[in-house]
């Protein structure tokens, strides 16, 4: 072994705070490699960059919900100003976002309010804006579809059957019908979407804020009819994404690239907050109807679930969001007989898109609140009822897959009781029902399947990672991590390096992770689906072991002769999946959580205050306890915002809240410290036992919040966000 003395390798600077513990060495927190530049303001986000001769691009959105475009009036343009339209795409005026249906610019028909009609490129930003404001369109209005209920058309209609639901309903002593609704949610990353495109000597280079450089690259190749070697995509420091920079960057990159090709100049586009909120996809609103069968003994025997999500005007990736929702449509609960129908409804709304959790938050809200309803109706304390149905190892999922690994809900419940005193609070508030201020406490359980569906990681993503070792000093070498998964705030540049460092017994400083550049890194897949550590991290771990062996058995790498190794994902044979019938193991591994939220509701104003939030997670081995904790707390805040603060209403297809003044994400004063703990349950197929983590905290808290408000107000909450207006109308 050439690199002994690795014990000094980690920057063991972070003291453990009270109550924090870790079992595995790799979980020990290190200082993030990007903290210093981000703190001092030196990190360069896209909006901080300028290229010589650069033009600005301003998009003109349509101000009508559904219409035929009869005419577009463009004023006389000053010199060096150009209009970009759908005709400027040599390949296709469609972005590739799984489906290929969303146009960069509307053609004959506008399908949603805010759909880009065209864009203006030119040297002065304010003149581009002024020109855009002078462009007008003549429309012939068409009837618009604005709600899931109104919608007749759908892009997908999926059915899954587990067990014998029909028989179970026939034998039911009682059946219950309930409907659950979740709202639209804005990702609200702090850095608005931004891109720069440059086309020189037949080569297109696009830089920008994004999660998935190869998604953007593929979309550009298809849209602009360019070969793979003529398109280079570089991810710039990304100021938050949360799914919001999975799909839309392909649109913005296409618009900027078409302008760069047309003008021959670098083109920069930075959305201001209002435009960002107006133009970009949000979390799918949902309407989930659940019919539940209960037998003579009070056992829940079956559920018939109708899950509709608002896909908006174009399909894009909605089918996959729907899949995630219906695969987990009973939440963390084992229901023996299930029929689920799922549809992606077509409306005249902005296409809904990716948002952390990706269908999971909607499905879990409905599933968990339905259990809450059943507990209430059957006269059983919610935790007692929920506990009885929690998934256990060996149980079958809705898709008839098998939960192969240990599920430690008992330990998790024990831990959350200890932290939150849920049961004693629940009993106390139950006893004091109606006393002021109204108080309540709620508990929810959640599951999240890591990575792509079924064998998608092998068949569709074909994830490939590379490591490259080259000499740094005489007897030292550095290792470059070459992956297309990006650092977007979640800490991947630190955690992936830690995995390689640990596998190769190298000091962390010698592992290099750069911003992703498609001219340097292979396609290891998108930075989505909580797959970065679980899938890519594992590939890197295995590649690192190979690389170490190569280095140990040959000459040291040099600058001229680096030693490289690659690893491609192979789906473990134990998993079976039939994509055509949605049967089998939908995901290779699941992460689990339990959330408790405690609230106080003002009896006069119905304003709810979160007075406590606790969570226990099973994410396998946290690769860095502090980074994972940061993910859990941040995700919890987003889910609590989703539950009661963040309201995005459509008024004639037009979002009513288009600023941070009106769309209110949580501030420092909205919650107390968000408590979280982990249990130890290493995942056998993950790097050092790690599995999916990033999305899990976005899934459970909303239902725990709603359960708490339900107890506080004595009504069952069936829709989020739970605004004071809704509570007042309900309790008036």
């Amino acid at each position: 072994m050439r690199n002994p003395g690795w014990a000094k390798s980690y920057l063991f600077k972070v003291p453990l705070s009270a109550g924090e513990s870790y079992v595995h060495r790799i979980s020990k927190a290190v200082i993030r490699d990007d903290a210093a530049d981000k703190s001092s303001g030196k990190a360069k986000y896209l909006s901080d960059l300028r290229l010589p001769g650069m033009l600005y691009l301003v998009v003109k959105p349509a101000d009508i919900q559904h219409a035929r475009v009869l005419n577009i009036y463009i004023p006389k343009l000053p010199e060096n100003y150009t209009v970009i339209t759908g005709k400027d795409f040599k390949g296709q005026n469609r972005a590739t976002i799984i489906a290929e249906d969303w146009p960069f610019f509307a053609e004959d028909e506008v399908l949603y309010y805010g759909q880009p009609l065209l864009a203006v490129a030119g040297p002065e930003l304010d003149i581009c804006e002024e020109l855009c404001s002078k462009i007008t369109a003549e429309y012939e209005g068409l009837p618009a579809v604005s709600t899931i209920e109104e919608a007749q058309e759908f892009f997908n209609d999926f059915h899954i059957v587990k067990g014998e639901p029909e028989q179970a309903f026939k034998n039911a002593a009682l059946t219950f019908d309930n409907a659950y609704r979740t709202g639209m949610q804005e990702q609200a990353y702090m850095e608005p979407q931004a891109m720069i495109a440059d086309f020189q000597n037949g080569m297109l280079t696009v830089q920008g804020s994004m999660q998935c450089p190869y998604y953007v690259k593929n979309s550009l190749m298809n849209a602009l009819a360019l070969n793979a070697d003529k398109v280079r995509v570089i991810q710039t420091v990304t100021g938050g994404a949360f799914g919001g920079k999975e799909d839309f960057p392909s649109i913005l990159a296409g618009q900027a690239a078409a302008a760069a090709i047309k003008t021959g100049r670098p083109v920069k586009v930075v959305l201001d907050r209002r435009l960002d909120m107006q133009l970009t996809p949000k979390r799918h609103p949902s309407l989930i109807q659940i019919r539940t069968a209960v037998d003579q003994e009070g056992q829940i025997t079956a559920m018939d679930i109708d899950c509709r999500i608002d896909a908006g005007a174009y399909q894009t990736l909605s089918a996959v969001v729907l899949e995630r929702a219906i695969f987990i449509c009973t939440g963390a609960y084992n229901i023996k007989n299930v029929h689920v129908r799922g549809r992606t409804m077509k409306t005249n709304h902005i296409p809904s898109g990716a948002f952390r959790g990706f269908g999971g938050p909607q499905a879990h809200f409905a599933a968990d609140m339905n259990m809450h309803f059943l507990a209430h109706t059957l006269g059983i304390p919610p935790l007692e009822l929920k506990k009885k149905y929690l998934y256990r190892q060996g149980d079958h999922s809705v898709t008839n897959g098998t939960f192969r690994d240990q599920i430690k809900f008992n330990e998790m419940i024990e831990k959350i009781e200890e932290a939150s005193e849920y049961s004693s609070k629940w009993e106390e508030y139950n006893r004091k029902a109606g006393s002021r201020p109204y108080k309540g406490v709620g508990i929810s359980f959640a599951a999240h399947g890591g990575a792509f569906t079924g064998s998608g990681e092998q068949d569709i993503i074909k994830s490939l990672v590379r490591l490259s070792a080259e000499s740094a000093a005489s007897d030292e070498y550095i290792v470059r991590v070459l992956v297309s998964n990006v650092e977007m705030g979640q800490g991947a540049s630190t955690t992936l390096r830690k995995i390689v460092a640990e596998a190769m017994h190298l000091p962390l400083e010698r592992i290099i992770f750069n911003q992703s550049d498609t001219s340097e890194v292979p396609d290891s897949g998108p930075t989505v689906a909580s797959r970065t550590i679980m899938i890519v991290g594992k590939l890197l771990h295995d590649a690192a072991k190979d690389l170490l062996q190569k280095i140990d058995s040959g000459p040291l790498p040099t600058k001229e002769k680096p030693i490289e190794t690659g690893k491609r994902y192979v789906h473990p044979q134990e998993f079976e999946w039939d994509e055509s019938t949605f049967t089998g193991d939908a995901y290779p591994g699941y992460s689990w959580s339990v959330n408790v939220v405690e609230v106080e509701v003002d009896p006069l104003t119905y304003v709810t205050k979160v007075i406590g939030s606790w969570a226990v997670y099973d994410v396998g081995t946290p690769i860095d306890i502090q980074i994972v904790k940061g993910q859990m707390q941040g995700g919890t805040a987003q889910s609590l915002g989703y539950a009661y603060l963040e309201k995005m209403e459509m008024s004639n297809g037009r979002p009513a809240q288009l600023s941070f003044t009106d769309y209110t994400i949580p501030t420092t004063l909205d919650f107390p410290d968000l408590q979280c703990r982990f249990i130890d349950n290493p995942y056998r197929l993950g790097p050092y036992g790690a599995k999916a983590a990033g999305e899990l905290p976005n899934i459970g808290p909303a239902a725990a919040f709603a359960a708490a408000v339900s107890q506080a107000t004595g009504t069952i909450i069936t829709a989020i966000p739970v605004t004071p207006e809704k509570l007042e109308a309900e309790l008036r």
Binding site: K13, I31, R32, D34, A35, A36, D37, K38, S39, S40, G41, K42, A43, K44, Y45, D126, E129, E130, S133, Y189, M190, E191, P192, V237, G239, G240, A241, F242, D272, R273, R274, R436, G489, Q490, L604, T605, Y606, V607, Q626, G630, Q633, G634, G635, A637, Q638, Q657, S659, T661, D662, T664, P666, T667, T668, L669, D670, F671, L674, P724, E728, A729
Partner: protein, 468 residues
């Protein structure tokens, strides 16, 4: 377009002199003209705080600070602050606590931490949460950010570092065309079509948004600053009355010992520390927004608006001054110099007050509705009672009819006539549905709050939870 305008100020220790529009945002001056990119635009609306800088040692949002107010100011950005030892300790604390994720908001948090700790080296948890409440973060859920500030407190104490208390540069400046020092000069500018700005946290956000979407309606850059006019910078107590100059920031009013607690509470509910450091009471009044949080209290206090203009000075009662949403009696050649009111008695036991704002969230929130009340209860008889409601009609509601009915009533009479009082208020409450709330919610909640206030004031229910 207005004639060229030059602004001189200090930024991170160097003097700059920039030719620009008077209404250009400080944020744009910093990023584009000076070239410091660590100050960032996250929302352009004074909400997210990514553009935070220190102005004369105080935290402000540079996205809502117009160039015309920068004359002679001393700006510290993250770029300059990063060169200090204090920065190193705070940044280390943020890294150790895990408070840095995507990093877009981090410089804002660090500037807010510096601003907080420079005047409050041992903050409580509540102080920290309030001090940082104007910086939005979508990644962390704030828990680790709060922890980072606590670690920074320890580090700074251990290093025995004291922040330089940056005080406003008291260099006397030559009056320039757009920062007049006398009322006469200001009136001259008004007559030339210039408009006064006092803070700008609302005006600049609106103007910038309009510039982007409807440049033709955004008007010109014809703004001038009132900050150099001595009369607008004073705050003093005289003969039981409080005079507040139109350039005095909300922070200074809140911190003034003579400020009535009721007004202090209302002003503290506006925006965030960065907004309160720039915003003024005169600005809040002249915007005349139906949801302006200072207005219900000013109505209760029978505040007078002191103006000066071409045809002399006027003292106008706040109720007359505000004529509708965004509309006031202020003439084009008239300037608000100060706001004045009699400070209410505070004799122990008998006096009470309530200010209740129902906002969109816990901090940096706009009002869905607000209710303010002030009373005196002597031996279970209400000898004074005033109540005003915000955001429930085009202007603030204050009913003298209801107040006359209520004043002089005993506890028993109040209980008996409560429905009648509520009916009077009910007729006046005419709210609307908008993007923040519904008319029904506003009306029902306002009436419940009024009922609660009358019961509290009249000692009808003493045991009710009063901790608002």
């Amino acid at each position: 377009m207005s004639p060229p305008f030059t602004v001189d100020f200090e930024i991170d220790g160097r003097s700059v002199s920039l030719e620009t529009r008077p209404d250009r945002r400080l944020l744009d001056l910093i990023r584009e003209d000076v070239g410091i990119t660590g100050v960032r635009e996250g929302c352009g609306g004074g909400e997210c705080g990514a553009c935070s800088v220190l102005l004369d040692g105080r935290l402000i949002n540079s996205c809502c600070m117009p160039a015309v107010q920068m004359k002679g100011c001393n700006i510290t950005t993250i770029d300059g602050f990063a060169k200090t030892e204090e920065f190193t300790l705070i940044a280390d604390a943020f890294a150790e606590a895990g408070a840095v994720q995507c990093g877009f908001c981090t410089p804002g948090f660090i500037m807010a931490t510096a601003a907080l700790l420079s005047h409050n080296p041992r903050p409580t948890d509540e102080d920290i949460r309030t001090g940082l409440s104007g910086i939005l973060c979508r990644c962390t859920g704030y828990t680790m950010v709060i922890e980072a500030v606590k670690i920074a407190v320890e580090k700074l104490a251990a290093a025995d570092l004291q922040f330089n208390q940056q005080t406003p540069t008291s260099k006397t400046m030559k009056a320039t065309s757009l920062s007049p020092q006398t009322i006469a000069d200001a009136i001259r500018l008004l007559n030339q079509g210039y408009r006064p700005v006092a803070g700008g946290t609302d005006l600049i956000v609106r103007r910038h948004a309009l510039l982007k979407s409807e440049p033709k309606n955004a008007g010109t850059g014809n703004l001038f600053s009132c900050r150099q006019i001595v009369e607008t910078n004073r705050m003093y107590q005289e003969n039981g009355r409080l005079n507040i100059g139109s350039s005095v920031s909300l922070t200074d009013i809140i911190g003034f010992p003579g400020c009535p607690p009721l007004l202090r509470k209302a002003l503290s509910s506006i925006g965030s520390p960065g907004i309160r450091n720039a915003a003024t009471l005169a600005g809040n009044i002249c915007n005349a927004g139906p949801a302006a949080d200072s207005l219900p209290v000013l109505y209760l206090l029978n505040a007078k608006i002191h103006t000066s203009g071409g045809s002399g000075t006027r003292d106008i009662s706040i109720e007359d001054f505000i004529t509708g949403p965004g509309r006031t009696l202020l003439q084009p050649d008239e300037l608000v110099l100060s706001i004045c009111f009699k400070i209410p008695d505070e004799a122990a036991g008998e006096h009470g007050w309530i200010f209740k704002k129902v906002g969109t969230r816990a901090a940096n929130a706009l009002s869905k509705l607000s209710v303010a009340a002030l009373w005196k209860n002597a031996n279970n008889t209400l000898t004074d009672f005033r109540l005003a409601i915000g955001a429930c009609a085009p202007t603030v509601i204050r009913s003298f009819e209801a107040e006359q009915l209520i004043i002089g009533s005993t506890t028993r009479e109040l209980e008996q006539h409560l429905p009648q009082y509520l009916a009077v208020y009910g007729k006046l409450i005419r709210p609307i549905d908008d993007q923040r709330s519904t008319a029904a919610y506003r009306k029902n909640t306002a009436l419940k709050l009024i009922e609660h206030i009358i019961k509290t004031a009249g000692n009808i229910h003493r045991n009710e939870n009063k901790k608002w």
